[in-house]
């Protein structure tokens, strides 16, 4: 029994905090061979202004939209240079005004492989180059065509590359990614007026625009404390629509610029606490939201 506990503790020995999907699924820190960690975080995100296209808009019939999420996030080192990352959030969204029902349920499960392809050492410093490939799919058939939708409902492939520099406690990570979003089927036939369409009886299947993503993150990381600040920019790559009457929500071109920060403190042994904050500076067809999160991390 003692041995087993020790084995689990070895598997879960804490090294770094975990970052949930809200600011990109992954950071530049490799987990290490056969090391693992698991995080449970709670987050709350609110907005009372959303962007129609890029124009901020407030709807008195919607009031303030609140999204609460419990996210389960795990990393396991398949090898010294290969990690498996899995994430699955349970989400609840509700509006403070109007008569729209709150929506609640599992959103999308994501599995990703992160590969440290190269690393260079210069004295005390280290520069690594990483690649990652992820796949996301909805856990259940949630409503996707609604302002309070849990998600877009698409199956996505996420390819990204990262440059990660570390010198002592200081680190700097830059990453660039492309998220390929698959088509989704709506509950309804689209009736929107679009003279460029030869056949006006559009179907129920619509495309979700792909996006590109850039994240820069810097901070200070030791065994006991981790702190960072980051900036994230998502830009629609494929053509998309703007929020408007009758326009399907999944076809909207979504983009945003967000900044945030993370603080991690190791309490005892392999147990740590994680806090996060982020805010939206500007956006496109998305809520101008502010997010607070907190979580427990077990592992190495």
């Amino acid at each position: 029994m003692q041995q087993r506990i020790r084995l689990i503790l070895i598997l879960l020995s804490v090294q770094l905090p975990l970052l949930t999907t809200a600011q990109g699924l992954m950071d530049g820190f490799m987990k290490g061979d056969r090391k693992a960690s698991l995080a449970v975080t709670y987050s709350q995100e609110t907005y009372d202004t959303y962007y129609r296209g890029t124009t901020p808009f407030r709807d008195p019939n919607l009031g303030t939209v609140t999204t609460q999420a419990i996210n389960l996030y795990g990393v396991y080192g398949l090898g010294y240079d290969l990690d498996l990352i899995v994430s699955a959030p349970y989400i609840r969204t509700e509006a403070s005004a109007g008569y729209q029902p709150k929506q609640e349920g599992f959103q999308d499960v994501t599995a990703a492989l992160r590969w440290e392809a190269f690393d260079y050492k210069f004295g005390n410093s280290r520069l690594s180059w990483l690649f990652a490939l992820g796949y996301t799919m909805p856990i259940q058939n949630y409503v996707n065509d609604n302002i309070l939708a849990l998600g877009q409902g698409s199956k996505n492939i996420d390819g990204r590359t990262m440059l990660h520099y570390k010198s002592g406690g200081f680190f700097l990570t830059g990453q660039a990614g492309y998220i390929r979003r698959g088509p989704v089927t709506l509950d309804r036939i689209v009736n929107v007026y679009d003279p460029s369409q030869v056949n006006p009886n559009s179907g129920m299947k619509v495309n979700v625009p792909d996006v590109t993503e850039f994240i820069v993150r810097t901070g200070y990381a030791t065994k006991r404390v981790y702190v960072d600040v980051w900036g994230q920019q998502q830009t629609p790559y494929a053509a998309g629509t703007d929020i408007g009457p009758g326009i399907p929500f999944p076809t909207n071109a979504i983009g945003f610029r967000r900044v945030g920060g993370t603080l991690f403190l190791r309490l005892v042994g392999r147990l740590g606490l994680n806090f996060g904050y982020s805010t939206t500076l500007e956006g496109q067809n998305i809520g101008k939201s502010t997010r607070l999160s907190g979580g427990i991390i077990i592992g190495n």
Partner: protein
């Protein structure tokens, strides 16, 4: 392609190659493809069918065409032949587009315009007021849309009955019979006057009346439609001219009716009606801030079928809010909303037909489109289908609106704010259900016209009828009364059709 774009695309291609993907361009919304067909019947007796707006087809005289042996005709024919040899890709696209059916295309255009103008007034955050609507950009609410679809259908149908009468009266042979091969399949009917031109001119005049701001777009469409008859080798210039002329006469009759059908006063004040409402709790707008209903007096608009008979079909008074019957109905809405399944949500969403859609009537026009294409209906028969369906849907709306603004029954959420709706709550009183009345009427008529599809149509209308209960916007008694009203008006329409001369 700039250098940076090239590099970006190359990078993306490499990045995604592992997953078997490339960053190619995608359509935002996928589209279906309509089939081409040669109409199943020619309806040589179509000129004798009972007209709607005109007392008979004979009231409009179509002048005799020149003989096909005449120089004038031969010049026209040569011009069409030469045109076929030198046709441009743009012309071919137009021929293909209109080749799928003029009546169907104009119905689609009408639906698109309805969807475009089917919007809520814009709220100005700064002033706390709704912006006034431009009279040239009217709100295409359900009463507006049904009136438009009905008038369009009736005018197209009458124009085609007149055209068919002249076709078989003068018997100018079709171009296919004179050795030409049309670019798209057409009905084997005499070519004079052109049915395409008749549809184009009627539709353009009717739609411009409803949407003055779209005049230019509509005119361009009509011109292209008429020209496509020449480009496709379907008609010569004098066929088109004759079709256009007869259509203008029919459209004039239709527009006279439109100007005197009392719709112009349907937006007048409704507060006195509300004060008189024989109901214990009256409807209030649930919008923030409250919004006035769009056309509260649409119940006064002139009906297409006999007004006395239609008025007799008005639903009985709804149960008072204090009654057990009402409380049971309200509790059912609450329970359904609280335990709404994903499937129920999907049904409610499919039949939402709210803002920026064709409206519920337009949704049934879309369904009719599929059926008449499967049935390979010629232009005249397609127009008859739409005219019949839409006149009934209009009259159903008229009676339904009368009930709405007599009783002012509140929406369920007004009485129980805990009732959350999966669609936006329509800004009109509840009783009777538009979805139930429209769908029951459409089902009755389409089942009569397309008996093969009885089972499928029943399934569609059942889903449409119950969708508002799933959405949380309607009571069962409202749905039942709507279904009854729709079935009765539908029967009235099918009885008309049984005696209209079409077999």
């Amino acid at each position: 392609m700039t250098y940076t774009t090239m590099v970006r695309n190359l990078c993306l291609t490499l990045l995604l190659a592992g997953a078997g993907l490339t960053g190619c361009k995608e359509n935002t919304i996928s589209e279906g493809v309509l089939p081409y067909f040669e109409p199943a019947t020619n309806d040589a007796d179509g000129g004798t069918w009972r007209t709607v707006l005109l007392s008979s087809a004979a009231t409009i005289t179509v002048s005799a065409p020149t003989a096909i042996t005449s120089d004038a005709y031969q010049t026209e024919l040569t011009s069409v032949k030469n045109g076929l040899l030198t046709s441009t890709p743009a012309q071919n696209t137009a021929v293909n587009y209109w080749g799928q059916g003029g009546v169907v295309r104009w119905n689609q255009i009408a639906r698109q315009l309805v969807a475009k103008y089917n919007t809520a007034p814009i709220f100005n955050d700064a002033t706390g007021q709704y912006l006034a609507t431009d009279p040239n950009a009217p709100v295409a609410s359900l009463p507006f849309a049904t009136r438009l679809y009905a008038l369009l259908g009736a005018a197209q149908y009458d124009a085609l009955v007149v055209a068919w009468r002249a076709k078989y009266q003068y018997n100018r042979p079709s171009l296919n019979r004179q050795g030409l091969v049309t670019r798209v399949p057409v009905a084997d009917v005499p070519s004079y006057p052109s049915e395409g031109a008749a549809i184009a001119e009627t539709s353009a005049q009717i739609l411009t009346y409803f949407f003055p701001n779209e005049a230019e777009y509509i005119r361009a469409k009509a011109t292209e439609h008429k020209q496509s008859q020449l480009w496709g080798g379907i008609n010569v210039a004098s066929d088109v001219k004759a079709g256009e002329t007869l259509a203008a006469s029919v459209a004039a009759v239709a527009l006279t009716r439109a100007r005197t059908d009392r719709f112009s006063t349907a937006t007048d004040s409704w507060t006195s009606l509300k004060a008189r409402a024989p109901y214990d709790v009256t409807w209030q707008s649930l919008e923030i801030p409250a919004r006035v209903p769009v056309v509260p007096l649409a119940g006064r608009v002139k009906t297409w079928f006999d007004s006395t008979t239609v008025a007799r079909l008005a639903p009985a008074a709804p149960p008072a809010t204090s009654s057990t019957a009402f409380q049971t109905a309200l509790a059912e809405v609450r329970n359904t909303a609280d335990s709404r399944t994903r499937d129920q949500w999907a049904t409610a969403d499919y039949w939402n037909d709210g803002q920026a859609t064709y409206t519920i009537a337009g949704h049934w026009n879309l369904i009719a489109e599929q059926l008449l294409q499967e049935d390979r209906q010629n232009e005249l028969r397609a127009a008859r289908t739409y005219a019949l369906l839409n006149r009934a849907l209009h009259d159903v709306t008229t009676v339904g609106w009368q009930a709405k603004y007599t009783y002012f029954v509140p929406r369920p959420s007004q009485l129980d704010p805990q009732i959350k709706t999966s669609v936006l709550i329509p800004n009109s009183p509840a009783y009777v259900s538009d979805h139930a009345s429209q769908s029951a009427a459409a089902n009755t008529i389409l089942t009569y016209l397309f008996p093969v599809e009885t089972t499928w149509l029943k399934k569609q209308s059942d889903a449409a009828i119950i969708s508002t209960l799933y959405a949380g916007t309607q009571y069962r008694f409202s749905i039942d009364a709507g279904t009854q009203l729709g079935t009765n008006v539908g029967t009235l329409a099918t009885n008309w059709a049984k005696a209209d001369g079409a077999k």
